[in-house]
Symmetry: C2
Amino acid sequence: METQNLETILDMQNTVITPTDLLNHWQGHRRVTRRVIEAFPEKELFSYSIGGMRTFAELVNEMLAMAVPGMKGVVTRSWDQYNDASGLDTKEGMLKRWDEATSAINEYWTQIPAGRFQEVDVAFGQWKGRIHETLSYFIDNEIHHRGQGYVYLRSLGIEPPAFWDRN
Amino acid sequence: METQNLETILDMQNTVITPTDLLNHWQGHRRVTRRVIEAFPEKELFSYSIGGMRTFAELVNEMLAMAVPGMKGVVTRSWDQYNDASGLDTKEGMLKRWDEATSAINEYWTQIPAGRFQEVDVAFGQWKGRIHETLSYFIDNEIHHRGQGYVYLRSLGIEPPAFWDRN
């Protein structure tokens, strides 16, 4: 038991990423996702899909439903019910909401309690895991669904933004 | 300058994820990707695509080209040239190569030098960044292209594995 604790402590001291690194990583991905939203024609953003999957707008609603409400739960330890009904029906409105989320995430990030990333919690009262896993889930889910968006764009004959460019 | 250094040190001590967390995170994603490879019919794995994109086999070759050769560079600080010609042309052979990579990644992981995650290096002699960014790139690239694979499967009428199940 003591040996295992020591190993865990040494493992924790070998810093992989700092909190600021993780924020920059997420916001870098969110800049790419914003460009994918922009690349969709207005009509197809809300109507186009392949193989019976959701439209890209519906996928963006999911990302938005996780991001700021998720950060609120991370910071306050109090979770609202998950709700991805955004009421958005224009590209302009969606980009505006996206930018508001960018600021809100930055704002919440500075308020994450020390040690919080390794705490176990139940996100949205439903999904149990350590906070770093919950945050990774938000980011990975965005990458996953944005990957779908790339296929939608390509099949519409539209060149998607570069995956590797996070600026 | 001193204030900034102090902030960086405090930021680094607020552990986000441990090295072991990151390995588990990656291998969890790799288990999902393995199930996506398995879900493809043999013929479509090597031939099917949408909108002129690469086949899923070509995307898997890219993941394989980053994973073990990347870990070799992370551990040894010596990088081979990037090469995604796998020579694989059967699903069985691809799954076998995938499983060999799983073991090799685990093996290399225990040898990552202390402090290495925050070092700047030039991956494959081409891509500059901190090692944690390089590793995130390998993982994110896999999630991104696997997301494409989900659309390929859905458009073939095949249910993809659950994104959230990493076991």
